[in-house]
Each structure stands twice: as structure tokens, then as C-alpha cells.
Symmetry: C2
Subunit: 96 residues, 2 copies
């Protein structure tokens, strides 16, 4: 199992319609084959600059690769993520 996580901050104003639309569109990534335990959450610690988190799990690297290369993911990154995200950090976790 690999847990893929991204903490991020949007260019949009907190509580704005643009923020809501981004989060709603991001939630559609859950439908890509291989994605399990998909969550979008609020990042609530003051010890980092991020406002939100996305977390999902893949059974193995092949499933993760399938997600990364899926046209819906590629389009989301190109059309929304690179445009609307101000800062982010990816981290992936697997069993010790």
C-alpha cells in the first residue's frame, strides 16, 4: 500500500466560490481507477503554510502510476492545479 498525500494552499480567498469550485473539482479525482480512501481535508496546524490536504491510497505502484497517467488527473493538474495552487508539498507513505 502507498498513501499519496498533498498539502496545499490555494491562490483563492478563503471561503470564496473559486475555492469551493476547486475543492469540488479535486474531489472528482476519487473516481479514477485504483484510488481508494480518498479524502480532502482542512489543514489545521499553524506549523506549516498549507490550508488543505488530499490523501488517497493505492494498492501498489502500478495503481499509483495508473492514476498519475490517467487523462482526468493529467487534465486536472494542467488546467486547475498549476493555475490555482500557490504552494504545495507532496509526501507518500508505505509500510516500514
Amino acid at each position: 500500500m502507498i498513501r499519496h498525500t498533498v498539502a496545499f494552499k490555494l491562490r483563492h480567498e478563503a471561503g470564496s466560490a473559486a475555492e469551493k469550485d476547486f475543492l469540488s473539482k479535486g474531489a472528482e479525482l476519487a473516481a479514477i481507477p485504483g484510488v481508494t480512501k480518498f479524502e480532502i481535508t482542512r489543514q489545521v496546524s499553524a506549523k506549516n503554510p498549507y490550508s488543505f490536504g488530499i490523501s488517497m491510497e493505492f494498492a501498489d505502484q502500478a495503481a499509483y502510476d495508473g492514476y498519475n497517467n490517467h487523462p482526468d488527473h493529467v487534465a486536472f493538474v494542467r488546467d486547475r492545479w498549476l493555475v490555482e495552487v500557490e504552494d504545495f508539498l507532496e509526501a507518500d507513505f508505505a509500510a516500514l
Copy 2:
């Protein structure tokens, strides 16, 4: 629910006895009251500088505070974390 996460990198050499001992001692934090879904994992993305992750969940802020102030946590931070951890990032996640 609040998910408390820390990604971190140790001063120890990868695979060393000192690394193993730190991870073993860290795993004892799971016994502190209020801690649920405790995990220590390997951080496997090349997109950040961290080698490991700790994740746990608390029912609410009171449980989180109880963990933070628990003498076993305070002692671990003082005696091990501040001495053996080279770099880390905390992030906490709650429902949108």
C-alpha cells in the same frame, strides 16, 4: 477528528541500530491515552526531504492536548526528538 502527522528525517544512518531504536521508541507513543490509528511509515516520495512519517488520530482537540501534555510525549520530544531528528514538518488534518 484530527489527524496529526509528522514527516521527519533522522540524523542517523539509514538502516542503523540507532535508527531502529528511535523508531521503536517512537512507536511507544501509540500507548498514550487518546491516540488512535497510530502508524509509523516510510516516506517514499523524492519530492520532499523526509524519510519517515508518523500519523495518529484524535477524537477532538482535548484528546490532542492530552497527548501533547502527556509526560511520555514530553519526555520523548525532549530526550529523543530534539536530539535525533534533523528536519521535520508537522501537518494536522480535519474535516472540511
